[in-house]
Amino acid sequence: MIDIAIIDGRGLVFDVKQIEELRSKHHICGILTGVLPQFPQQNVFMGLPLQLMPEDVWYLVDQDLARLVDSKRAHEEFYKDKEPEEEASSGMVRIASATKHGLSPHSHARMPNPEAYLMYKYLMAQGLYIMPGLRFGCQYMVYPGDPLRYHAHYNALGKSWREPFPVLDIVRSGRLATSVKKNWVIGAESPDGEYRVFSIEWAAFG
């Protein structure tokens, strides 16, 4: 079981062993967001904790692979019965002690966009690795294997089946993906319940 601490709606993992398990077993990489206390503006070589996308959090809980922890309550209760000396010697607080402070519903975790989440689940079922696409201007970056070993193959976007969207978005996303040697993939669940995806490539003619 992986413990995901929910702080301000964000899902964070503080345990290296669990991060390793997430990456190697469940195809979920997340993003390291921790900085050294002396360098609050640090933006390279980040450390613990690992931040997960809302989709990652929901997926893990849906698959019964993780549980959510109310971080604040766990912290308070951990210290409640302890003397100050004991507190000092206990060193770093292990979130894992939260076994009994489990947060059953998803209530405190940030909700993923439902259309996007369907796309996420579809891609996960294909055994792909998914990372947030903010840096590349898309919803998801999709990797065929571990992002440390592969470049992304697709930029993905989940929509609902009859949802209208501007043609400009097709031009832009297609162009964007092609300029970085990727395919733009757009998908939605069709009325018959099958998830369908289309890939679009920019062909410069003229």
Binding site: F136, G137, Q139, R172, R175, S179
Partner: protein
Amino acid sequence: MKGSWNKKINEVYVDPLPFEVQPLPTLILHNPVSVLYFLYKLCFSPAPRQVKIAGTFDPNDPSMAVRVTDESTMLRLWEMGFFGKGSLSRSEPSWYGRTCRRLGLDGGEMSLEELTELRRQKRRILKRERDLAERQELHNKLVAEGRAEPVNLIELAALAEEDAQPPIRDEDRELVKGDTIIKLEHLQLMPCEALFLQLGLGVLDISDNDGVMSIMKSVESLAKGKLLTEYIAYHYYRSLGWCVRSGVKFGTDFILYRRGPPFQHAEFAVMAVYANRHEIHDWWWSQGVARVVGSVKKTLAFAYVEGPDPDLVDYSEIKTISDWRALLAQYSVQSVIYSRWTPNRTRD
């Protein structure tokens, strides 16, 4: 070459808008002849002449474009302010000339599309030759090691090339009528371009199936909702003297040229946004826009249009040109420049 090209385009694209204007002569105050000539010209030159244009609008056409079919008008609209797009061309309606040249008839000078194609072709050839040379070198190495027969790959490729010359296509026969080519192309005006020409400059008459469209009708069909936001941004930048063209190829609403496409590349890409409504876009969306625009070396601007909600405006109330002006007067535009900034790449 460059000098003569500049001279030529400066001669062709004199007028920034479809008006014919007589420029006043230079005034030299201490020269009485010059002063007299200036006054004469000032009093007796013809007033700026509007170039009247007729366009047609088909309400069932999903492209929403206003068509201009007359050939000389098409050319004029392009040369005087760069309005519209040839339906079979990248921008300037050049299909006729291109087809004539392709079929070996005299079609005048090369168009921009052909120059691009020529440049791309040269690059393709260069790349192929480089690739061949590399392969030949590799092959020579194998030959030297005694693992392959000596073959001249470059000569082989040249032989294959000779066979692959494309002949005139079969469809081309349908284009020829007598000894000329049928003119298939028309000019498409975006809704905002058509409205600007009709109501802003007063040079365009748009007709649909029932004859010439009234102001109310054209406003209703060409300026509703999101189109009004776009029109206001378009009008704003045109008023400031920019040459505004569609930015669809870069995934934005407009691109702004200082003078026009033949002179230099566009400097800005613009997204028109209605400011008083909270239009929800994810952060990655604006990152995507900024990336595409950045990769073509333009600056991205968001034009925030402020004023009454375009979805709630009663378009049936706009019957005269002054109603239209009164509506426009309620709007203002704020441009915001947006750029992608990566902290760990910008740090010294």
